[in-house]
Symmetry: C2
Subunit: 439 residues, 2 copies
């Protein structure tokens, strides 16, 4: 379902004029999904599709009964509060809806008069979590991140021998995943300095970001039945931005032998918008393993995955401190990277996750892990950018940062662009760190 088709034509324009502005994240070639309602209203959440600076309300659209067959069925599923039902309908149905929306939103579409009433300005909307996330799994697919962080936690043994064979992942916490814009408190927890006799309980002093992408599962597999790598992408609904905040002083004391726990489960932010795999089709690219690295085992290998399994998605992190906010200074970019550098693809994550029979369900979220690129200025976490807090980042207003300070706001951004294809974007994923609770 990921071939290019008429919906990808870069010449397409929409009758929603804001969608045609250069640099817009949500042109007619994108059509990402979210759950929303009017800000401050008592309306129920329902699903919608971004077009320019508007949201096409799928509940309103479904009520018109203007679509046909599978597209109408999909829009009716989109009338629900979250996307889980629509996600479970599968790639043919998603694709039918995309085609119908693309045709209805195009310049000159006969539907314009009727569909106009289904638009809600994004500026007047607030967003919910796009799906009920049953399980959240976080992977570790950047070999640069694994190596950089491995050097700090295990200087003599940075990249473990399993890394090039297994898409390493672990189960995360789904209850504390929140949508962009929700502030969160600095966590409190046990930390122990290497030379201290015993641990102490205090607010984390080493708060970090992790720039990731989130992969939303669409169709499920039954318990006991693995998903072959050749089928894996049919189970994926789309991608969002994900900030997997980490408390770097809680992590080293707690993580052995069973992995990260409280260092990660106090909050994780995702963007409201999910960009579908079909929208990303023009940005598929080859992943060639570095020479000398082992080839993936057969269950993680396919011609399609080698030739087009990676995705060319630009990613950036902006920071706005409270001092900047007070002075009216805009956020500044502190790092940027690209998803194409990941060592394991979306399809490999799905195939590995299910090889032993684990069942994935509509709305499950897989994190890619921190997406650091090959050079240090492409690092996707402060622990790498500042070499474990040793080399502060200098900001234009004279402030410096090693770790996050109270009031800091972090904005993740993601977009795809290249000659011959329409630019599409992910919108933003914002989170502001509040002071820790009183101890």
């Amino acid at each position: 379902m990921s071939m290019l088709n008429e919906t990808h034509d870069p010449a397409l324009q929409s009758w929603v004029a804001s969608a045609n502005v250069a640099g817009c994240d949500f042109p007619i070639q994108n059509l990402p999904f979210a759950s929303f309602k009017r800000k401050g209203s008592s309306e129920a959440l329902r699903c919608g599709v971004a077009i320019g600076d508007q949201i096409l309300d799928l509940k309103a659209l479904a009520a018109l009964g203007a679509l046909q067959g599978e597209a109408q069925r999909a829009a009716e599923a989109g009338a629900q509060t979250q996307l889980n039902t629509l996600m479970g309908l599968g790639p043919q149905v998603w694709s039918a809806l995309r085609l119908a929306l693309s045709r209805g939103l195009r310049t000159g579409a006969a539907q314009q008069g009727v569909w106009q009433a289904c638009l809600v300005p994004q500026a007047e909307a607030e967003f919910g979590l796009p799906a009920r996330i049953g399980d959240y799994t976080d992977f570790y697919t950047s070999i640069y991140h694994a190596t950089n962080i491995g050097k700090q936690f295990r200087p003599d043994n940075p990249l473990l021998p399993n890394y090039q064979w297994i898409p390493i992942g672990y189960h995360g916490r789904s209850s504390s995943i929140v949508v962009s814009g929700q502030p969160f408190k600095r966590p409190v927890g046990q930390t122990k300095a290497p030379d201290a006799a015993q641990p102490t309980v205090k607010a984390s002093a080493r708060m970090d970001i992790e720039l990731e992408l989130g992969v939303f599962i669409g169709t499920s597999n039954a318990l006991g039945d693995p998903v072959a790598i050749t089928e894996a992408e049919d189970h994926v609904f789309g991608l969002c931005l994900l900030n997997d905040w980490s408390a770097r002083d809680i992590q080293p004391w707690e993580y052995q032998p069973l992995g990260p726990f409280l260092a990660k489960n106090f909050a994780s932010h995702i963007s409201p918008w999910i960009v579908t795999m079909e929208a990303l089709a023009p940005y598929r690219t080859a992943f060639v393993r570095p020479e000398g690295d082992p080839q993936p085992l057969p269950y993680l290998n396919s011609a399609h995955n080698r030739e087009a399994g990676a995705l060319d998605i630009h990613l950036a992190v902006d920071l706005q401190t409270s001092q900047m906010r007070a002075a009216g200074d805009k956020p500044v970019q502190i790092t940027s990277t690209n998803y194409r550098h990941a060592y394991w693809t979306v399809a490999q994550m799905v195939a590995h996750h299910t090889v032993g029979g684990c069942n994935l369900q509509p709305g499950d979220l897989l994190g890619t892990g921190t997406l650091s690129g090959p050079s240090l200025d492409q690092a996707a976490a402060l622990i790498e950018l500042t070499t474990g807090g040793k080399n502060p980042i200098s900001l234009p207003n004279g402030e410096t940062r090693t770790w996050l300070e109270d009031g800091d706001s972090i904005v993740l951004r993601g977009w795809c662009e290249k000659p011959g294809a329409a630019r599409i974007g992910f919108g933003e994923c914002e989170g502001t760190l509040l002071p820790a609770r009183k101890l």
Copy 2:
């Protein structure tokens, strides 16, 4: 809410005669909860309470409108397919329902004539998962298990320095938790022998059990707001049996640095019945740390927790091989232990899980971890009982076992008994291992 009251009186008898038989798991002093329907029927699941060999159907009872106030409200929540809503109502409401059920089911109760129609024989029922499990966290609260298994994975460093300070836990997989009786396939996965040049993909050859208790969360805490240890038990609805099957050959190759993943997420079984914290009140007991061990940090310490935070619950594992089944031989007990040996209590698990602000929700499940006791014959996993597969267990029919073989059925049992209190039980948690899928 965990003081002794009239519902604990060991002299109480029920008009359901089977509840009064010596050795019954479900006397009137127990009253555990499950989700059920009539076997093979198209009925909707609803919640019920065990009494003797019967289930009191809460949906039918709620429809009678025979209870008052909070108890009626609780029964109406119990009319739903799973217990999440009832769990969220809190300890006062749970207790009001328990009191009303105890009074209505007692010998001589005026309600007998009407309530009789709300009984469904357990033999005619099939069970669902008692709750929608949003998140599953597995702890590691037996210091004996941590030490035994640590010796095998890290001979020079069995018990890590954080163990006596942190109730170590990690996030598990909730989608693959199934209810007792559902068979499951032997998982396939990557394993690597220490002397092999590269990993291979094959069916696990070291399939193990983990005898645990599951702790169901009742009332939630908001994201960012920790639960104090003195309030922690008010957030706990009750306990069930939990078998956290483990593939011991997949685990060592995948678990570094982020913890167990596919070695654990192919299936976990729980008992259908949840025994409430109030039913367990007579079996509270002190936990005294071994001399010389550090005292818990203040957020993990309270007088109540020291004096009555542990629970005296007997636990046993029975095995029936397919050869035994064919010969009509009953399952044989291969190990037994007691929950009172755990190094961290239920309240400590809740207080630690939330100290950084992580939100728990009604229906979330916390595993205690493998509950091995102080001596090797109280070990709660085959990896300990057989010393990593080196010392097979001999079965009465002449068979031996190091790891599980296809067709093996494992039954977990749990019960509480002591002079001056009614014996109560957890029922059974059964799972049968099917052959791996064809490779």
